[in-house]
Amino acid sequence: MLFLAVVVALGGVTVRLAHLQVVAPEAYAERGMAQRLRTVELPAPRGSIFDRNGNELAISVRRQTVWADPLLVEDAAATAAALAPVLDMDQSYLRDRLTGKGSRFVYLARQIDDDRADAVEALDLSGIGLRDEPRRVRPADDLALAVLGDVDVDDQGLSGIERQLDGVLSGQPGELLVERARDGGTIAGGQHALRPAARGEDVVLHLDRSLQYEVERALSEQVQATEADGGMAVVMDPRSGAVLAMASVEAPGGGGEPQPTRNNAPLTSVFEPGSASKVVTMSGVLEEGVAEPENVMVVPDSLQVGPKRFTDSSSHPTQRMSVTEVLAQSSNVGTITLAQRLGPQGVDQYLRRFGFGRPTGLGFPGESAGLLLPVDDWASTSIGSIAIGQGVAVNAVQMLGALNTLANGGVSVPPRLVRSVIGADGKERPVASPGGERVVSAETAAEMTSMLASAVSDGTGVNAQVDGYTVAGKTGTARKPSTEVRGYESGAYMGVFAGFAPVEDPRLSIIVALDEPHPYYGGVVAAPVFSEIAEYGLRLLGVAPTAPLPEASVPTSPPTSPVTPRD
């Protein structure tokens, strides 16, 4: 009897074995494999953005994201009630998400901080899970916000460098196919396929974090002090074209502290440079031999060009001025007289050679190339207005580029924002940059530099002086074109100053532009900001003073009140 039972049992086992092994082995093997095989996604962190000294400007960190599987949620209302206070979210919104049909994966809160994630985990709710997700963080908050740009919640670059270099910064996620045991451990010797994740590459900018902060601070202070709508500033190394700082701020409506803009105005917005572009006109005049710096000319109070009468900023009797004085005092009449001798073709040619009307080559998202009317479309008054920077639109980097060309001995300097890329191997690869081309002769550049130096030492730019250093630069005050009607907005001006220091061996070039400041003269509002930034920047770069230092080695007198030159 017992024997029979054993035989029957063994027979049963044999039949089952035959069924498993012979009849349909693949299906069972597959089911087993499906239970063991796990695909693990290997995250590819987005690359960091560093300043020139290796300080983090933007990095990605792991954050926890709370998700739910509505099918596994037992009591949506109770779950929502438990989660709402922890996540600081609306309870009814959560309940709607938790009762959602059709999907087995819904996001509840993405990239929350670790404390909250721990709290969610402690609740131990069924159907609620946590997963790692990268989150972009700028450790210095809004510093250089407009340059760096933003990423969306999925880590894709939306604006600025984040967007321009999205392909470099984004990594390639990898995948690991592995057999896992019930406890989650890897089954030794099991199937194993690895497609490694490629980490995003790091980007090193030319920006200097400290200088950037100082520029934003000085700019914000002046925007507030002059009740301007906003302002922008760019600091460059005129020899290499490296952009050391680039800032734009705007005043919030109704007063208060100016905030950094998300829009990188120095590249994306254009303005009429006004007198600042006399630098270009005058370079053409010298280069073409129309006049020499020391030539003396008769400058009347006003000048008729076509139907329009041009005047200087303040009325004066007809006087004799040297060409240097025309630039230093920013005489419209004198400049237009010289420009007429240079001719429309000449003026246009030099504007274009100095880089106006074409992109800077930075390739920044949303960059504006500016506006330059073809010389054939010029009106009869254009030779007058364009020579003094009206009817021309440039961005701040283009305007500063003209100064860089002069500071660099007449050879243009393509601006550079990105210094290098650090690959996954840790090797730093410099980003290639096109070379410059000769715009004016070295003699013209030297003559212009000394003329610009006198514009600061005893011209309209005196407020740009920096103790201990020689400075060259040009003021500009331009009316803002109206957005509604043809012509200019009444009482709306841009106050500009662009220059470089030290004159003998330029290390820094700076442009400061204030939008509708009060008062509006560039020499009054923008030049002091230039001075402040240059003083800090030259010290930061360790540039030794080039001019006699001020008498007092101990602060004896408060800083003199700003002179009020006319532009």
């Binding site: 962190p45 560093f50 020139r52 000294n53 290796g54 300080n55 983090e56 990095i59 960190v61 792991r62 963080v137 450790p139 210095a140 908050d141 510093l143 451990g185 890897t186 089954i187 030794a188 010797g189 490694p196 994740a197 490629a198 980490r199 090193v204 200097d208 974090r209 400290s210 950037q212 902060y213 100082e214 210094r419 290098s420 650090i422 690959g423 996954a424 191997d425 840790g426 090797k427 730093e428 103790d467 201990g468 003998e504 061996d505 290390r507 003083e535 930061l540 770069l541 360790g542 540039v543 030794a544 003073p545 080039t546 230092l549 001020p550 080695s553 101990v554 602060p555 408060p558 800083p559």
Partner: protein, 186 residues
Amino acid sequence: MSPVPAPARLPSRAPGPSRTDATPARPSTPRSTPARPDATRPRLRLVDNTRLEIAARRRRARRSLVVAGVLAVAALLALAGVNAVLVSNQVRLDELEQQVVEAQARHQALRLEVATLEAPARVVSTATDRLGMVTPERITYVQPSPVDAPSSAEGLAPSPGSTSSEVPVGTATVPSWGTVKPYLSR
């Protein structure tokens, strides 16, 4: 395993034809003949050569079977041992990988913390609000007098016109990235 016949356990005995040669005392070996009386001598019999060969072959086969069996057992044991090592090392590997992930997360968190603490806005607000520092109205430059300049001033102040800088800008990009970076790309 099949039962192993006794003779095969004694491999020291020389097998095969050598023994058949030794058994019949041939007259060709003169030294032994005088010692043995002719009466005790067994009847000589013709040895079947093929039967001997079959026997020898069987012995050989049995022996190889035994060797194979021993090897198989040894191999199985070794496999089990290796597998045990493999499994325990896999557990260790899993642990180490988990440690790497945690260390990377920690590294990242610390990097963020350092960068946040170093942020200029925070440094400035700490200096002014907590430490009571003030921004100077103007910068005071200390210049060595021409008399003591050559002897004592060296290294204290940069000579005019020199471009050497105390804060080398642009050279400080983390030099150790090359050693750190490859380990972050997981």
